[in-house]
């Protein structure tokens, strides 16, 4: 497929969804194979694209064949795809995670939503298409359309869960619409001053017409940031996330938690780097009492601390993980805004590693829920003995969250802390370490519960009676759940050991940007 690979990434899930609409409704057994086939094709296309990107540095695909004006040097009149190593990495993450979760979903979807399996898989595929499209596109408005696709599908994927899930999904609709509309409005503000929609063209016009001081552009940047922050659940705009992810069906949580927030962070970085430019994003604004970058880093420090503390107070595994996600979002936002290359590298690397960490943990919790029927920490007594393999994978994921070598979580923390030191943002460094320690407390509390037998743990208030679900009588973890779990766990270590390769890829995309030393 070669030159056409970028479009296949998005088209494969789309056609998969159509195929399910044609045949899957009648033959329900075909839904999963079609999904897997489409996602595998998408993954293959992603790998192909990424290889081309590595060879060429950048891969541009013109949709509709509309070339840029003036022999390719002018503005873009159509929509174009542009893949560099950063977006390529995010695309790889999307393709790989969605495929793993699809394998994992084999038994779960039938159990969670027995009568709407085809609809579930259609939405699933379209969500993947939306996320991949958002990552790959170079057109600000096209991004909005795909953002809406991924939003609508995720609302629905959440709402098919329990009745609490519907309510959380409704809140998510309200918040998500505000976020997406802010983004749209921000693009409008850019459009009114620049007259173009292609991201690189917007940047070029801002530079050429010296619009950096214009209030419209400044407001546009605030609006876009706010919109993206709402979508990524950046504290204090996070309120929709915990309920939405924890009451949704297992597969939805496992798909959305690793991908949706990370893709939004990628988009934030994309906006900072491609649309506004680093110089604009990080420079002190005249008339603003606070340095813009300082302000955001402070906010993210608060987000990290708040997320960790809130996670600590939860007794439900899924809820707890959702709050950890909120803390992790703070990591990445802060890293991206540290205004140095290391921070940006760390943020992008953390997108990759956090996606797999979250995936691993959500999959493990999914297995625990499937086998014990609940997800409260009190109900985990003696799980190490009952399901050692699952718990081992869970442990790897947890160690990565805590940030212990050689898992990838350690290395992302390494780059982020290093960048924080370099930028002199000591509170950010402190927040990172604090959250590591908090994660250690949170997870070792769980390990303790799972490692020690029930009698020892009885001092803890037990809301759940494990005898109600005798573990011994439950069937073994199906391999469709165990294999993705283990692949994700091993990926954590592989990503950690080969982190330098990934970091070099990221650096090759950041090379063209002029990072300047952070202002004290």
């Amino acid at each position: 497929m070669g030159e056409q690979a970028p479009i296949v990434i998005v088209l494969a899930p789309l056609f998969g969804a159509l195929l399910i609409a044609f045949v899957g409704i009648r033959f329900k057994a075909l839904c999963l194979p079609v999904t897997l086939g489409a996602l595998s094709l998408s993954l293959a296309a992603t790998v192909e694209t990424f290889r081309t990107v590595l060879a060429r540095g950048e891969f541009v695909y013109l949709l509709g064949g509309w070339k840029r004006l003036q022999e390719g040097d002018g503005i873009s009149i159509g929509i174009e795809y542009r893949v560099d190593t950063i977006s390529g990495l995010v695309l790889l993450v999307i393709a790989a995670v969605s495929l793993l979760v699809a394998i994992y979903s084999r038994t779960r979807v039938v159990a969670d939503t027995p009568d709407r399996v085809p609809y579930y898989y259609m939405l699933y595929l379209l969500l993947v298409a939306g996320l991949a499209g958002m990552t790959i596109t170079n057109d600000a408005f096209n991004l909005y359309v795909l953002l809406e696709i991924s939003s609508l599908t995720s609302y629905a994927l959440i709402a098919v869960g329990s009745r609490r899930a519907v309510l959380s999904a409704f809140n998510y609709v309200i918040m998500g619409t505000i976020g997406a509309s802010f983004y749209l409005l921000g693009i409008g503000y850019l459009y009114i001053k620049t007259g173009v929609l292609n991201m690189q063209d917007i940047h070029a016009v801002i530079i050429a017409n010296d619009l950096a001081e214009s209030p419209s552009i400044r407001v546009a940047s605030v609006l876009i940031l706010m919109g993206v922050w709402i979508k990524m659940a950046f504290f204090p705009l996070h309120a929709w996330l915990p309920n939405a992810y924890s009451y949704s069906p297992t597969t939805t949580g496992a798909l959305m938690a690793p991908l949706v927030t990370k893709v939004m962070i990628y988009i934030m970085i994309r906006m900072m780097v491609t649309v506004f430019g680093l110089d604009y994003s990080f420079r002190a604004t005249p008339g603003m009492p606070l340095h813009w970058s300082n302000l955001v880093v402070t906010l993210s420090s608060i987000a990290i601390v708040a997320g960790s503390v809130m996670a600590l107070s939860r007794r439900d595994l899924k809820k707890m993980l959702t709050y950890i996600i909120i803390a992790e979002v703070g990591y990445m936002v802060g890293g991206a805004w540290l205004a140095n290359e290391k921070g940006m590298t760390g943020a992008v690397y953390h997108i990759v590693s956090d996606a797999f960490m979250t995936l691993c943990l959500f999959l493990a919790v999914g297995v625990i829920i499937a086998r014990t029927g609940q997800s409260r920490i009190e109900g985990m007594n003696g799980l190490f003995k009952k399901m050692p393999l699952t718990m081992a994978a869970f442990t790897i994921g947890a160690l990565s969250m805590i940030g212990l070598p050689p898992t990838c979580g350690f290395f992302s923390k390494w780059y982020l802390v290093g960048a924080g030191i370099e930028a002199g943002q000591w509170h950010y460094v402190g927040a990172l370490l604090f959250s590591s320690l908090m994660n250690a407390v949170i997870f070792f509390r769980i390990f303790e519960m799972a490692y020690f037998p029930k009698e020892v743990n009885e001092a803890e208030p037990a809301c759940f009676d494990p005898d109600a679900h005798p573990l011994e009588t439950l069937e073994k973890t199906p391999s469709s759940m165990a294999i993705p779990l283990w692949i994700s766990a091993v990926t954590l270590i592989v990503l950690g050991v080969f982190n330098y390769t990934i970091v070099q890829w990221i650096a090759s995309a950041l090379q063209s940007l002029n990072f300047f030393p952070a202002a004290g």
């Binding site: 259609m122 939405l123 629905a156 209030p215």
Partner: protein, 252 residues
């Protein structure tokens, strides 16, 4: 909560108003958006490049055709999502809290039924006209599709959802919606298979008896038809589900 909302709203409003002073005047001819290269190019070159007089249609279906494809997918997603969320497979409306709809008279009103029966054929023909004439006048796939969908909604309003479902069953709705997207993306895919980029319609001149420019014009009609398919099916499906709480029985 209320105070917080007021604060958030006031903050946003202040932010937006702050930038308003910076905008070009309303209706200004030489603002970046209106006088800029992009908009100028569309207006000036649209005939040369696509042979479609309605610039909006040309931009919608060709220059930014990819957007529109996904816009259609948004509609499709809405249709599926509503079914996935609301559709009640089987167990009827037992145990639901009372609703206004339960107090409606059993028999549909004669005047309403007759009027609808008169209006519907006209509406459908007009919808097809809007779809087909979208290149030259306001209209196109979306508008035509919504009107066509509205005609089915009228049937459902007048004669009950079940009567309308006899014409357009749930299975057909889904097939129709998917077919619409298939027509759209299939057109793009044919371009891809003919060796050009996705949605690069001019290459269709190889299989259509026209020159590359007219091929674009014709392809736009194809994709607009696809849009109309999807929109028709989904609009009706949304109404049918919402009006019956997903049971597809009874109705308003």
């Amino acid at each position: 909560m209320k105070g917080l909302a007021l604060f958030a709203v006031a903050f946003t409003g202040a932010l937006l108003l702050y930038a308003t002073g910076d905008f070009p005047d309303w209706g200004s001819l030489d603002s970046p958006a209106n006088g800029g290269e992009l908009s100028t190019h569309y207006i000036k070159e649209v005939r040369k490049e696509t042979e479609v007089p309605n610039i909006v249609t040309a931009v919608l279906a060709d220059y930014r055709g990819f957007d529109t494809m996904f816009e259609t997918v948004v509609v499709f997603v809405a249709g599926i999502a509503i079914i996935a969320v609301l559709r009640d497979f089987g167990n009827g409306s037992r145990g639901y809290p009372p609703a206004l709809a339960n107090n409606l008279p059993e028999e549909p009103d004669l005047i309403v039924t007759q009027t609808c029966n008169l209006v519907i054929p006209v509406l459908q023909i007009f919808a097809l006209y809007v779809l087909a004439h979208g290149h030259h006048s306001p209209g196109g796939g979306f508008q035509g599709g919504v009107m066509l969908g509205a005609s089915y909604i009228l049937i459902a309003l007048a004669n009950g959802v079940e009567a309308a479902m006899k014409i357009l069953s749930e299975r057909k709705i889904l097939l129709m919606a998917a077919t619409g997207i298939l027509i759209y993306s299939g057109t793009g895919l044919v371009c891809l298979l003919l060796g050009e980029n996705f949605l690069d319609y001019h290459v269709l001149s190889r299989i259509l008896p026209t020159d590359p420019i007219m091929a674009r014009s014709h392809a736009m009609l194809f994709v607009e038809t696809g849009v109309a398919f999807t929109v028709t099916a989904v609009m009706f499906s949304i109404y049918a589900n919402l009006a019956t709480r997903g049971t597809l029985k009874g109705g308003l």
